[in-house]
Amino acid sequence: MTASNPLAAQARWRPWEPVLWLAALATPWLFKEHALIINEVAIVALFAVSLDLILGYTGIVSLGHAAFLGFGAYSAALFAKHVMPDPLVGLLVGTVAGTLLGALFSLTILRGTDLTRIMVTLGLTLILFELANKLDWLTGGADGLQGVTIGPLLGRFEFDLYGQVAAWYSLVVLLLCFVLARRLVHSPFGATLKAVRDNRLRAMAIGIPVLSRLSVVYTLAAGMAGAAGALLAQTTGFASLDVFSIERSADVVMMLVIGGVGWLYGGVAGAVVFKLLHDVVAGITPQYWNFWVGLFLVVLVLVGRERLLKPWTWFSRKGAA
């Protein structure tokens, strides 16, 4: 019996986790009228968790994660429209699309400074935006890709108007991807990622092939974002240019920051809080949502990100970064 058990213990599911997930899966049944929102939250949470793999576990600042969301969305939508309407196959298509794009883009983010990376990730997303805009015979351009009809899930469950089936679908996919990500993060591979995040120089000096690790994670995260995009297109029956917008990329970074970077549940928590806040505030001042978001960000950063979840530190002088 070694004292190394705590390491393995870290990887074990805490008691509250299965409860949380069961509760989450029950919500579309318990809150039938809100199934659409639940669906949205699940999709956005998946998107945020995928970004956490990059931002939280490797430290790379990416402002272009929406590229994969959008690419997955359009791929799945086009697939459903022109090839076959089965949702699961479409999900696979979206995921593969995101993965391929991620592999390609990962070549660009390996070198350079933080600023370079921000620029490149932003630029790549903007290019995709322009492409989707200009290739309007394929993508519907500024009007978006309409008329995407999705067949029944597993051949049996029709996507109903309430959105219940959609919500369950998204929640299950979220759960599966989350479990995958969780495994990854607690594995030796995940540990090397944290090493790269904490001290890239030393990681190299102990034999970790840093660049290849970064590429692999980036590609994986992109695939997951692609899955989120596919879910988005499939459950809304629609794909539009705003999936590639700067706002999307900025929103998801914010969600992650709210929920806490680097612990996977941060993406989920952040998505829930963000969506709820958005609906509440947008109900009051729809036009100026961005102002409050901006103010929130400024205050958050000035006060110190880690203190957000520790209200007792809000008014003390010391502590924080």
């Binding site: 600023l115 620029m119 290019i127 322009e130 920051v257 102002f291 000035l302």
Partner: protein, 289 residues
């Protein structure tokens, strides 16, 4: 074709004046300030307001745009920005995007979301044709080039010939050593930030007619400013100058010759350059992370 070149140069010089403050701030304080475009917007709207409500002539508005924006920059630097210098880049990005969102929403609220029109004075309108029309030089663009060129020369002079310039360069190279030499680094930072913001404000005023002015200006042009800084590097001002000129010409030429692809060309070019030279086209080997 020469006209395209001319227009591209005018655009590029304008972009340079707009972005040079951002470049120096990045190089000096290692701070990614994505809110830089908001200062430009401030200068633009200020000019519009002064011209429309106070009836001030255009030329008089330009130094005011510079001065007021510089002042705002100085105040913000002292109060909001200074605690941010030591924070990680992610925090800086979040902070400056937050500021930008606030500025955009506030402008939309107070000034409305429509395009602002600037009535240029008579003598700036018009166009001179050379070589039988092969080169058409709009007077306003000529004016822009002249002002920006003068400013560039002035900046270069200040940087290389004055004491402030050498203090600035020392602080960029190594703030700690500069401080131990008795250079008031805080003052250098504040002054530089103020001037950089002031120039952005001036650029916003100058550019309102050429680039358009509405509340989405900071976000729309953010990418261009960042391109200038990323490609031009932060260790000189000639780097961003050349990058801005390159960008200006490429954008104008691209939009003219292949309108279908539009801004596409510029983004692709930027990505290609950054992949080839991750530290920018003109910087010496690496600074920063």
């Amino acid at each position: 074709m020469l006209t395209i070149l001319f227009d591209g140069i005018a655009y590029g010089m304008l972009l340079f004046i707009l972005a040079v403050g951002l470049s120096v701030t990045m190089g000096l304080m290692n701070f990614i300030n994505l809110a830089h475009g908001a200062f430009a917007m401030l200068g633009g709207y200020l000019t519009v307001a002064l011209m429309q409500h106070q009836g001030l002539p255009f030329l008089a508005c330009l130094p005011i745009a510079f001065g007021v924006t510089a002042l705002v920059g100085a105040v913000l630097e002292r109060t909001l920005y200074r605690p941010m210098y030591k924070k990680p880049h992610l925090d800086q990005v979040l902070f400056s995007i937050g500021l930008t969102f606030m500025a955009v929403a506030a402008t939309d609220y107070f000034m409305g979301s429509q395009q602002q029109i600037i009535q240029l004075p008579e003598w700036l309108l018009g166009r001179t044709e050379w070589f039988d029309g092969a080169l058409g030089m709009g007077h306003y663009r000529l004016f822009i080039i002249a002002i920006c060129a003068a400013l560039t020369v002035g900046l270069q002079f200040v940087l290389s010939r004055t004491r402030f310039g050498s203090r600035l360069r020392a602080s960029v190279d190594d703030p700690r050593v500069a401080a131990s030499l008795g250079i008031n680094v805080n003052l250098v930072f504040a002054a530089t930030f103020a001037v950089g913001s002031g120039l952005a404000g001036l650029g916003g005023a100058l550019g309102a007619e050429v680039l358009g002015l509405d509340p989405s200006f900071p976000l729309k042009f953010l990418v261009y400013f960042l391109i200038v800084v990323a490609v031009g590097g932060t260790s000189s001002i000639t780097g961003p100058l050349l990058a801005a000129l390159l960008l200006g010409i490429a954008d104008v030429a691209g939009k003219y010759y292949i309108p279908k692809l539009g801004g596409f060309i510029v983004y692709t070019l930027m990505i290609a350059i950054l992949i080839w030279r991750p530290h920018g086209l003109f910087s010496r080997l690496g600074g920063g992370k």
